[in-house]
Amino acid sequence: MAKIKSLEDLKKKKEDLQKKVDLRERADQPEHFVQIKVGMATSGIASGAKEVMDFLMEALEKRNIEAVVTQAGDMGYSYAEPTIEVTRPDEEPVVFGYVDTKRADEIIEKYIKRGELVDGILPQNYRTIDEE
């Protein structure tokens, strides 16, 4: 193991290691970050949700966007799989359907970065018990 010889060394090391605990630290207060839920039920996986999730995690990291990507169960939009739900900090969640890696890229560039809506938004027509 290389010795840490200065505070700068330590800072650099920390930056390299930050990734190790990023996921855990963000999970503590996900509301401060972009939260993305990927529907990963059987139908989602069959239509490529796993590739989309991999792509999202990699792309977000490369583009320096702090986000919490989680997998969720079936969101109910089986006709539109893979589906992802994106929540920007302090905003209402938006669900996108028919997401492949190309569209995921578009969602990151337009919606996540700038808040512009893109095609494929699914109407949210339910309430959850948390809102009661």
Binding site: M1, A2, K3, I4, K5, S6, L7, L10, K11, K13, K14, L17, Q18, K19, K20, V21, L23, R24, R26, A27, D28, P30, G39, M40, A41, T42, M53, M57, E58, E61, V68, V69, T70, Q71, A72, G73
Partner: protein, 597 residues
Amino acid sequence: MANYKMHLLVCGGTGCRASASDSIGESLKQKLEENNLREEVQVIMTGCFGFCEQGPIVKILPDNTFYTQVKPEDSEEIVQEHVIKGRQVERLLYKDPEKGEPIHDARKMDFYKKQIRIALRNCGFIDPENIDEYIARDGYFALGTVLKDMSREDVISEIKESGLRGRGGGGFPAGLKWDFAYKNESDQKYVVCNADEGDPGAFMDRSILEGDPHAVLEAMAICGYAIGADKGLIYIRAEYPLAIKRLKIAIDQARQYGLLGEGIFSTDFNFDIQLRYGAGAFVCGEETALIHSMEGDRGEPTFKPPFPAESGYLGKPTNVNNVETYANVPVIINKGAGWYSKIGTEKSKGTKVFALAGKVNNVGLIEVPMGTTLREVIFEIGGGIKEGKKFKAVQTGGPSGGCLTEDHLDTPIDFDNLLAAGSIMGSGGMVVMDEDDCMVSVAKFFLEFTVEESCGKCSPCRIGNKRMHELLERITQGKAEKKDLQRLKNMSHVIADTSLCGLGQTAPSPVLSTLQNFWDEYVAHVEDQRCPAGACKELMRYEIIPENCVGCTACARKCPVGAITGERKQVHYIDQEKCIKCGACVEACKFDAVIIK
């Protein structure tokens, strides 16, 4: 580095390991392997989550799922359902004790809502056996900053301004202690960490060492720089094998990174740490006794002054702080004394870790800001009294502390308030008692502990506590007189006034505080030979209510000493001379005919 999508945190504290959390970690890894997920999902063995009541704990991030009482065989379902399909395993979720509903998001648990975690910041969050995880959490930054930008005086005044007080029991201002050691000139000085946690039921120091050992090492190095010491010693009881193992790993890794050793951060500051093992004697938590034990002598206290800051280990200036105190130091340096001193009350700054035990729903380790009330701790974080029974008292500060009652529930907890209420903060033990607990027996229990742990050096402690214990024994047997209560009081005061060290001086506290708060209960034992809580065996009588007895003979057949007589279909009778009060008849009776008087 693999880019993990999901982290499975498995508690690797002593409590959860006792329930096979090791094999849970292993079998999770194996199941992930079988499903080709090792590259995507990381399993981390962490330190204690504090929620020991419901262990073993598995926490899943980023979705904040909190699984309790997990068994190795559950890992298949966790991997298949949660990891692969994204569905929480409902039956393993923590359930709200009042409503019985599963909680889907750990951040909504009452247990964690009121807590602020400073000393426990990394416990249950990082892998304690991996220095990289500590560094990723700003580890060793405080040490780097101190060596680069702060003078020794700066460090000491920062600690002074933070208002940090010793967490081991005494509550002495840590900055002042460092200052004394700094001012005493010597060719050699020592930094000692007191990890001789001895209060029954307290385990915060063990959890910190098991869950975040580097925090203590870093703080000791900072202290070494401030007071001018290049040697650190951790006095730890051999009864803490896991903490010792993790400390050894941590010291080794810190040395490899050059964060311990010579020329740390390319400065001329040298610092290294060694372990010293204790045999687990309570008195060795007292700093002079601790130092003698480290020197290879008997673990007996000596008169202060001279304080260790003047003449400590091998006669050299020595700074002794306990584990939890040190664990606060890196945060104070990183975030500043101003930030730290905003938390807490006027004279007690920061947070305190409490080990919540006894008749409370959520037994475990919690960290709350000073000034939190006992009610918040017991009823909100602790989830109230078990089985809906009535709260009776809470013993704080272990065998050196006192019992507080319902009247004290709204007292904000800090060093001075607890002292004023007749107890102490101590190291943070908190034992909750309900209506079934006899306060005389509680006092007797704690005194029994001090009698056993007394080193025997001074007579008030050695003989006095023994005599007091005998008196309490007689009270619980119904053989005492009213005069004995006054005797107890007198002896308590003499022992407190004349004992050499803290152990003896505080030994009568449980007796004094129960005498004061539960006088009627003592009187009932003495005058009516009755134990109101129904806990003192000798004062109990098992009787059969004739109206309820159907003469089924179940109790007579169960009685191991043949004390119950009666014909079939006739009312039975218990011979009090023969009865050994084992309670077998109560369990055998299906008609609630046997009662305890």
